[in-house]
Symmetry: D3
Subunit: 135 residues, 6 copies
Amino acid sequence: MSTVAAPAAPETDPRVKAVFDDIRATRRTDFINNLWRHLAFDPPLLERTWAEVKALMATPSTLDPLTKELVYIAVSIVNGCSYCVHSHTAAARAKGMTNEQHAELMAIVALAARTNQIATALQVPVDAAFDAAAG
Amino acid sequence: MSTVAAPAAPETDPRVKAVFDDIRATRRTDFINNLWRHLAFDPPLLERTWAEVKALMATPSTLDPLTKELVYIAVSIVNGCSYCVHSHTAAARAKGMTNEQHAELMAIVALAARTNQIATALQVPVDAAFDAAAG
Amino acid sequence: MSTVAAPAAPETDPRVKAVFDDIRATRRTDFINNLWRHLAFDPPLLERTWAEVKALMATPSTLDPLTKELVYIAVSIVNGCSYCVHSHTAAARAKGMTNEQHAELMAIVALAARTNQIATALQVPVDAAFDAAAG
Amino acid sequence: MSTVAAPAAPETDPRVKAVFDDIRATRRTDFINNLWRHLAFDPPLLERTWAEVKALMATPSTLDPLTKELVYIAVSIVNGCSYCVHSHTAAARAKGMTNEQHAELMAIVALAARTNQIATALQVPVDAAFDAAAG
Amino acid sequence: MSTVAAPAAPETDPRVKAVFDDIRATRRTDFINNLWRHLAFDPPLLERTWAEVKALMATPSTLDPLTKELVYIAVSIVNGCSYCVHSHTAAARAKGMTNEQHAELMAIVALAARTNQIATALQVPVDAAFDAAAG
Amino acid sequence: MSTVAAPAAPETDPRVKAVFDDIRATRRTDFINNLWRHLAFDPPLLERTWAEVKALMATPSTLDPLTKELVYIAVSIVNGCSYCVHSHTAAARAKGMTNEQHAELMAIVALAARTNQIATALQVPVDAAFDAAAG
């Protein structure tokens, strides 16, 4: 059940086909997951979303691929996005995340959430030492 | 301005002094930041909070120290905790985070937030392929 | 599956019947969606909730009906309320929202979420020019 | 600094004066805090907001006054509303909240946030035993 | 469907069995709900999580057991944790929460969310009277 | 106070100067607000962020400019981004938002937050009638 029907034959639209072809080539798989199948209802939104995912997640950069997935999972958990938690946990596993790392990720997300709430509850003033402009 | 007054002489309480001593020893610094100074209003809460921060953040584990700080910052951003964003950005810098890595972290947190909103707006059903029990 | 059982014959309670009658008359439909059927477990909460929805959403005002639904969807997405995303997307469609407008709404919600995270990550100070009192 | 300027002489508007008089009478104080002073920019919004706060928070009900404030603080913390955390912590103190209760409230909010993140990370299926309709 | 498969025979691990035994003894029931069954995939995370839940929720303290559950539900609602809303609503019912109290809890969570949004929209400055350090 | 120091002479970097020139030309003003001044610390992040803001907010589309700002404010409120609430409220005012519209926006954001919490508290099942695929 979704708020937009996934097009039945999305690749008859050449813009959608081009994105799906690029997803398959970039990820070296024939599997196109549901997010992209539903985004096909609006080719410009599909194109822009995939372009940024590819640029940031599938391109070598200063953070290693697994670290990027761990950050992605963490954000998805806090935003409560069930779909994204599932898809990026699977992606992290595919990039080598072990059960121990998965458990440690949960522990750190939970710890951060915990101290976030305490700092907000206390309304602690920020230490001057943390000011980047003073560095 | 805070919801709890930081005790004026917190280390006259031996439980607070023990925690502050451990913070100084663990971090090899004399600086005790405001979160701990305010948590001193309730020694049991101070002890439990520090014990978990130390166990997860200051102990070697399956994730490297900088990765843990990046996840911590990401969670703090999404939870909107100003204090925690400041303190953990400073901590990540102290552990070697470069400006490029900081910018990339922001880009990934922002990308995840973006696709989280889109997946939630579409209410995309989770692909069966992502089920761990099916793995 | 819900935390409260929807009453089996809610309209035997005259307070519930009065609200359901008003929903049908206001919306010109016989369809009472599940939110109201479950809220019937507590007539005062049902009455107060419907009264406010009617006053704000079903009464002519300074914002047009579709704009109000778009804002409602946006808030529901960010709050991660699956039920509300579904019900208000359906309501917006009934008020004329096109696929293009739906896609654009998602794009703006996603853009805002993205810059929200970046501004929070940077802890950017608010420009004096934005102060309403200075206007 | 605010997005709306608080009217300089709000009580020259009789609708505002009526609300402010009722706040003073209900709370038995001359102090009108900044939320109401800013809401005075739009008398209907001021009236509706105060009417609901009074109905729920200043009227005897099935939950005692302090419990209601503790829930209010908890929600305000998770929503990251600095103003509300301050105002409702002050209100809870006025209703007798001790330092120990305040610390325990923080501990429970933090624990709930922690297990919320873990349950979301795991995407645990809900046990059939929790279904109210099955009760 | 979950991101981690619940172990098929979790109690063959003595650390898991010890936690499950303690859950059964503490709660006086044979029912182990799904959160714990899934957390069994990582015994240290299971142990730490249960230890804190037991210390805060199953130990007499300055807040009564039902108040603690109400706060827990409130946080879980705002964090959008479906599993936790279900499990803690069931726990609150087991501790005596009536339908009227449940409805009132929802009304207060909703009111707090409402005024949280308004205060954030207005960016109301915090009154000096709320400063704990000034008390 | 920020987590990144705004460069003292950002326009000595030609990539930053190009973005700032485009902001000035697009908005027909000499004012560059703090978000862009801080993002100048990383020119690629600055470029990508401005490119998307310009494409979505400063380009004619299926939603009118004021509606887009109202949605932007709504999302920023729920995400608790103080800076963004300020900057987009100012932008909405510049595009003609009246006080009455501003108050109504707050009322709808608050109403949505309220019903979001109630629907999440009840865990209401989604009506089959809302399924787009069934449409």
